[in-house]
Symmetry: C2
Subunit: 492 residues, 2 copies
């Protein structure tokens, strides 16, 4: 099984695709740039979604649902946002098909069913939501409005990659409205911390929290906060963003409120989102050449039990032990599968579950049973141990926590080892080609220099870390004075 | 508050809209035929979705996600299905907007970004899913494939109504593949029973299970099973459908499997779905002229506690009792809100929560506290009682069950009282105009007669009930012989 996976060394990009496809997470579809999220991948997304959803609710947010379509006139209302997304919009122009008179059994777009106004398939929902908020907000009593939406969005990207960049993707988008600037900024920062908490404590994915440069901001934002993760190939991945939108959308959609003194002002806004792209980051952060490695907290399956037997009689004996074990593992909230199917050999099953990144595998044969033991294998370290069956439930529970922590620590050590200072242009360029990772370097603060560096090296400023220490220096490219280092990287 | 709701007697249709809008379930949007599902309505949908999702998983199904778009060539592959939906398809023809050269700040569709092949926004996903299944199914070992999808779909309906008929709606669609016809039929029937179970035991909505006539079948199905509910105005509402699709989609997409003897055959299929339309049915089945009445099992809020006090000191005293009560209600799994906001009087709050259909309301003032009692009001019967605070948690838990049962029994009695036999055309027509409800009548079994009855009366055959007793008679319209009665009604 595992031999079908291209190694990272040979072709990192193909390794990634192999993991996604052969690990059962997703599949290509007949629609350009769109993917099918397969049941195993969707179960992973459900686990991620459920954790995030609880975090959003615990911080006072509620869910709602807004239309898929944005009429063009609303879409263009906030000019920067519209400009930022115009080039990748799927546009609905007609509302009916009809039989092709020249070609029986085929359909054509009915030219008589042309929409008066074209509808944009939402690439993001600020426009439709702020147009709605206009009707919901009159007074300070209506604020804050703390709403999240789980939805599909479409961005017509030219080059797509499974999970990382697809024309359609699933995400959540929070859209909040506030009476003061300070409150909106606080909200944007709070949600950044929620994302970081989720990435680190559930995905075992260490991230750097920071602020984007104006060049890299979300179209229509005053400030874009982000969490940036590091992949095994040394490229960065933007894992989530939280935007302080100022009053831009409130002004574009004329959303005002009256405060306690009856004074009118525009409402302050934030938006924040993470998407199925996170799954791409998860795959690339932890996995190895034998397949996926998934953190226990969000793995669809945490434990698989493979019986080793010949014939129904042995199977029956094993069942007598394994069925109660499954029950007691489930009672501890552990997601466990007893794979007693007889259509594959144990070795094949082992490889299959390795490929799928199931954190813990148990194998039990007749001799194990006689000795009251079981073989337990960790997916992350590939370590195998023989452990007493008695009390194994708690051993497994602890082991899952240990694996979760180990994955995080390993990724954290990798991240720390791959934040490298560069103090000259030569050093910068050399680092990018030899070590990659985050490069911490001085930048003169101008969009021109940033753009130039990107042109020359494909490296972008990933972020200015939060609480970045001030340090005088000189821009690696322009040699102009600089007051702080920023983090550069090539990125997904 | 409640005086703002139009009464059912005055204008049933306006009453419904008032409940949906003023009850906070949904709002109109800027997109023709599309609605915004507001947080309260979405919380209701989440509760419904979670119960259904568990039911699907308990019956062996897994979730996945397929693309929003269906290339036209795939869409038209299953001809009947394509024909059935062609007239209501939103079609994406372009993938880019550009700045309008004649109108600064405005955007136009970029004519150079025309898609080679148009994309249909899914009205249902059989085509895209069966095109995918082709790659997933080779052998009997790959079967059955039991997949469900939670998604948005778009059907460009000309006349729309909040929840009941919207251009975009949320739904789930199960798509299963089987090795035998018998197994597929069994699946279609099983899911019908799941839907009926959900409607009756969670929505408190009694339904009739039946089969559609060929005229009313889903486009592309061999058989459509349905559950039909009755609204208070005597109109029927199709609340869910489950289709046995035969081998139609397998043939259209060439999906074959080899059985144990290596013989090739086309795969057998089912699909089944329920949507946010259910919320419309829920509203119309139980509510009254004062607002929504929601069944406790799926109500976003089950209990609201309104304190009656003057000043902070009294408030503090009440808090000391109410906070622990809230904690212990939550510990029992009860969704409770303590509305201690000071921006509205108790009477206003009472009306507000009545409007929103919160099943149980507690009101506690200082004197109640002194007497160790609380006033408890049921939304469904409007009964109020004074109950000892001590042990109130269990009283409430029991009361919620009682309300759930009462709503079902009331709706069931209404349904039973409104299934009326008609034995002649005159009787049939008179019943439709005076009593409505389901009319049980003989029909000659021809699509022509069915169509004629629909033309003359707007009544359709809602279903042929499962296990319908055979009975000789004569068709109410054609007077031809008939072997069984079927259920007619005017419907949403």
């Amino acid at each position: 099984m595992s031999k079908e996976i291209t190694s990272r060394e040979k072709d990192y990009s193909q390794w990634y695709n192999d993991l996604v496809i052969k690990g059962g997470l997703a599949d290509y579809s007949a629609v350009r740039g769109c993917m099918v999220i397969k049941p195993y991948g969707y179960a992973l997304w459900e686990n991620m979604r459920d954790v995030l959803d609880k975090m959003f609710k615990d911080t006072g947010h509620v869910n709602a649902y807004f239309p898929l379509f944005v009429p063009k006139s609303l879409f263009e209302a906030e000019e920067k946002n519209a400009e930022g997304f115009a080039k990748e919009c799927a546009v609905v122009t007609h509302y009916r098909l009809k039989t092709d008179p020249d070609n029986k059994g085929k359909l054509i777009v009915d030219p008589e069913a042309k929409l008066e106004e074209e509808l944009v398939v939402r690439p993001t929902s600020e426009a439709i939501i702020w147009n709605t908020y206009k009707g919901w907000i009159q007074s300070y009593r209506d604020l804050p409005l703390l709403i999240n939406q789980w939805a599909n969005v479409v961005r017509w990207e030219m080059r797509t990659r499974l999970f990382l960049r697809t024309a359609e993707f699933l995400w959540q988008e929070g859209h909040t409205a506030h009476a003061t600037k300070a409150e909106a900024v606080e909200e944007a920062e709070k949600m950044l911390h929620v994302y970081a908490d989720f990435a680190e404590n559930y995905m075992a994915l260490p991230v750097i929290k920071g602020v984007k440069t104006p060049n890299e901001r979300f179209a229509g934002a005053e400030d874009t906060y982000c969490i940036e993760a590091l992949m095994q190939d040394g490229k960065a991945l933007q894992a989530g963003t939280s935007h302080f939108l100022g009053q831009n959308f409130a002004k574009a959609f004329d959303v005002k409120f009256s405060d306690k003194t009856n004074k009118q002002d525009y409402v302050w806004a934030t938006s924040w989102g993470v998407s199925t792209r996170l799954i791409g980051g998860l795959v690339m952060a932890h996995s190895d050449d034998d397949g996926l490695i998934l953190p226990p907290k969000i793995a669809p399956l945490q434990v698989v039990i493979v019986p080793i037997f010949k014939g129904d009689e042995q199977k029956g004996v094993l069942d007598n032990t394994i069925h109660p074990l499954v029950t007691s593992l489930k009672a501890l909230g552990i997601r466990v599968k007893y794979d007693d199917s007889d259509n594959a050999r144990p070795g094949w099953k082992f490889a299959q579950y390795e490929m799928q990144g199931v954190p813990v595998r148990l194998a039990i044969g007749m001799r194990d049973l006689e000795n009251g033991v079981v073989e337990i294998a960790r997916r992350d370290t590939k370590e195998k141990q023989t452990i007493a069956l008695n009390g194994i439930e708690w051993y497994i529970k602890t082991l899952l926590d240990e694996i979760q922590l180990h994955l995080y620590n390993k990724a954290k050590a990798f991240q720390q080892a791959n934040i490298t200072p560069a103090n000259s242009w030569d050093e910068f360029v050399q680092l990018l080609d030899t070590k990659a990772g985050f490069i911490s370097a001085h930048w003169d603060g101008t969009p021109e220099t940033e753009e130039k560096i990107k042109e020359l090296t494909k490296a972008t400023i990933r972020c200015i870390p939060l609480n970045n220490p001030l340090e005088s220096g000189h821009c690696i490219l322009s040699v102009q004075p600089s007051s702080q280092r920023v983090l550069f990287a090539r990125a997904y």
